[in-house]
């Protein structure tokens, strides 16, 4: 069996390290703000790692996709 792997092992390690750091940050936010949803904070932190233009384009692409599916 052949498994297609995108990216390198070092990229995967970097992504995991980043995700673990983000998880700790999201948890710290939720500890300080008990009414916060971990999922919302997690996704906000992911978006805050992107450029503003990328954030806007993600929002517009998902908005259009949702409109087409309605």
């Amino acid at each position: 069996m052949t498994i297609a792997v995108k990216g390198t092992v070092s990229e995967a390690v970097d992504a995991t390290t980043l995700a673990l750091a983000r998880r700790e940050l999201a948890r710290a936010v939720c500890d300080a703000e008990p009414e916060a949803s971990f999922e919302n904070v997690w996704h906000a932190l992911i978006l805050l790692e992107a450029s503003p233009l990328d954030r806007l384009n993600r929002s517009l692409i998902r908005g259009r996709t949702a409109a087409i599916q309605r």
Binding site: A32, A36, L45, L48, R55, L60, R62
Partner: protein, 157 residues
């Protein structure tokens, strides 16, 4: 090959024309929230103008190869032409102070070659609460949690 992005050079060029001509405007609504990190989806970019009859707006539209279509009894004001299709014109924001006061406390976000005035997330939340529409109330928790994330992890933005 990467798919074309909905907000591309044409849309940035239109905003650059507004800035270059000194038009008083703010990016508002969910596009403004998305720019500040909120996991919100939208189909358009709302622009709130101080004065739609400002000659600077006419100059900016001409510079961008676009035009202004005034409102009628049954239709809102619209833009037509290159790079304007994504933009909606806002003439009133529920629950907020007049334009002049809100414009004094914007956040500046760089898109392309220009820094743009954006309504702060806290003020977007105030406006969404004021409208009371179900679709606005649904997104409130995500907006409020983004504000919490920014408050405790400001370096993330």
């Amino acid at each position: 090959m990467d798919a074309p992005q909905p907000f591309s050079d044409r849309e940035v060029a239109f905003l650059e024309a507004l800035v270059a001509e000194g038009v008083d405007f703010l990016i508002v609504g969910l596009a403004a929230a998305a720019l500040q990190g909120a996991p919100a989806v939208t189909q358009d970019v709302d622009l709130w103008f101080r004065n739609l009859e400002d000659p600077a707006l006419t100059r900016a539209l001409r510079r961008a190869g676009a035009a202004y279509i005034p409102p009628t009894a049954s239709t809102p004001p619209l833009f037509a032409g290159a790079g304007t299709e994504l933009f909606d014109i806002v003439v009133h924001m529920h629950g907020l102070e007049p334009f002049e006061k809100e414009a004094g406390q914007t956040v500046r976000i760089r898109l392309g070659r220009v820094e743009l005035p954006v309504l702060p997330l806290a003020r977007i939340i105030v406006s969404k609460k004021a409208t009371g529409r179900p679709k606005d109330l649904t997104i409130l928790p995500a907006l409020e949690d983004t504000l919490r994330a920014l408050r405790h992890a400001p370096s993330a933005g």
